[in-house]
Point group: C2
């Protein structure tokens, strides 16, 4: 595989941070003594579930949209998204006065549908599988001439997502490890670029559902593998690792930890009950990974990126 | 009615704060732009749902338990509680090496039962009605000689609960209004004592379920009225205003706002969805009050005390 771009540098992530700061929250980092006890580690939760539009996605989306030309914006903006990127992109585009079309799986939870619409996006439905997402999106782009802002396979997106770990390490520079969810690889890729340049000794792990473990298998085989099934509750973690993101992950990551559905749901409930905050399963997977591979984390200072909080309260998994 | 105690002064609340600080969190104050828009006011949420043992109750319980003599502690400590005071008292007593017995209604949610037991308390069951609570508690005290730490009708408790509003006003001295839930009156009484001395111009309102509106009716009649029914989802707001707390409320409160069950549940869901935090219905009632009586709050800086976050996730009200 050849890299047709340079990996985001900390300087570029800093520039992105300056660019997007007026439009995002600097989210808090929470700690919880009972979860420290449970895990045997010191946990620092980076709460992007409190972020604008309910997830970290606003970071990359804003970084990208602010770099579109007026001509590009006038053509309208399109994407494919399980929900959080669609809502974030809609917010970023609406802020600039443009229009957004979001290709979205027809099994998307109502809260994520509402979140796109409330932020001014128009939804085009597709089937949940990656192939359908791609086909419907391509037809839309061909028909409308809209500008694609991909949810993760875009250097501007990766650079923007890297600001979450940058904030976390500015607040807690002494962290030994960071755990990020991994789906398409935008958040994990950005996290790797900022964290490893800020502290070359830090370990960074991806947490991935065993039911959609393409990143894990891709790392094993050395090339991008597809998901054969995406039967996971983590609706934000069903996408396939990208050509832009995989080379970053392959070069820099310390490992991908796969987690069962039961452990993801248990960890979600633990966070809700003990921390009194609402996180998606796609976020709680980071705690599930820490509780699973205790030997990696025991006694360490561990940053966990809680990526989002958009949960359908009518369909909780317990 | 004659007062057989002096109302807590700000100096006493400060002393209580010094006493309990090592054992409680100084909880954050959150804001949310979409809820500001919805309410037409500037809202400042004092997040005691993030407090130790999951509610503000640890403030008054700790303040009281730290003032017990060793002899009193050795006799063991007892109380009657819908759950949050029981858990908080158990934590405070266990911290001092003592034993706690909690008389608890047999319809208490599992999370509150677990919360008492996890903190070392032993549960004695009663019926939900106030009469049963009183009878079972009296029998327990007669039989065991345990020291009663009442959930609200005790000046030490009221003084401790006043530290929540004190922290809120230290962080945001410019608030125009504070809204506190009201049940037995410990939190509202303490809030009134600290807030009105810190800022004599501030308005303080109680928020109460229409289905258990004894405080509202007591204020109307000028004497303590009983609840005929307590058919409210707010399991923390079913107690009856006390002889210690009512005189404070009668003298100082600017009004009690009663709220329907539907509005309480709606406001709980709004807080969960928009703020991504978990609050009990007994907390969300403050937002429901602000959304109901808009003419009181429009354009004002309003502090809302979110009293607790202990919710049974298996039995959500929507």
């Amino acid at each position: 595989m050849t890299l047709n771009f340079t990996m985001p540098t900390l300087k570029e992530i800093q520039e992105a941070h300056n660019r997007i700061s007026p439009f995002i929250h600097r989210t808090p980092v929470l700690t919880n003594s009972s979860l420290n006890e449970l895990s045997g580690a010191e946990l620092y939760f980076k709460c992007d579930n409190f972020q604008k539009a309910g997830s970290f996605k606003i970071r990359g989306a804003t970084n990208t949209v602010l770099q579109l030309t007026q001509d590009e914006l006038d053509r309208s903006v399109a994407t494919s998204s399980s929900g959080n990127h669609g809502a974030a992109l809609s917010m970023a585009v609406t802020n600039r006065g443009g229009k957004t079309k979001v290709v979205m799986p027809n099994n998307t939870s109502k809260i994520k549908v509402n979140n796109v619409e409330r932020n001014g996006g128009k939804i085009i439905w597709c089937e949940p599988e990656q192939a359908s997402r791609d086909t419907v999106l391509k037809a839309l782009l061909d028909k409308t001439g809209a500008v694609l802002v991909h949810p993760y396979n875009d250097e501007r997106i990766v650079t923007g997502q890297g600001t979450a770990a940058k904030e976390l390490l500015e607040d807690y520079p002494e962290l030994d490890v960071i755990v990020s969810p991994v789906s398409g690889g935008g958040l994990l890729g950005g996290t790797l670029c900022s964290a490893k340049e800020m502290n070359p000794d830090i370990k960074v792990y991806g947490a991935e559902p065993a039911e959609a473990d393409d990143a894990y298998r891709s790392l094993q085989s050395g090339k991008i593998e597809s998901n054969e099934t995406i039967n996971t509750i983590c609706d934000g973690l069903r996408a396939q690792i990208g050509t832009v993101t995989f080379p970053i992950i392959k070069e820099k990551v310390d490992g991908i930890i796969t987690v069962t559905e039961v452990d993801i749901i248990d960890s979600m409930r633990i966070i809700w009950e003990r921390m009194k905050i609402i996180v998606e399963p796609s976020s709680s997977i980071t705690l599930a990974a820490v509780l699973k591979d205790k030997e990696v984390f025991t006694g360490k200072k561990v940053g966990l990126i809680l990526s989002g909080g958009n949960v359908d309260l009518d369909h909780l998994p317990w």
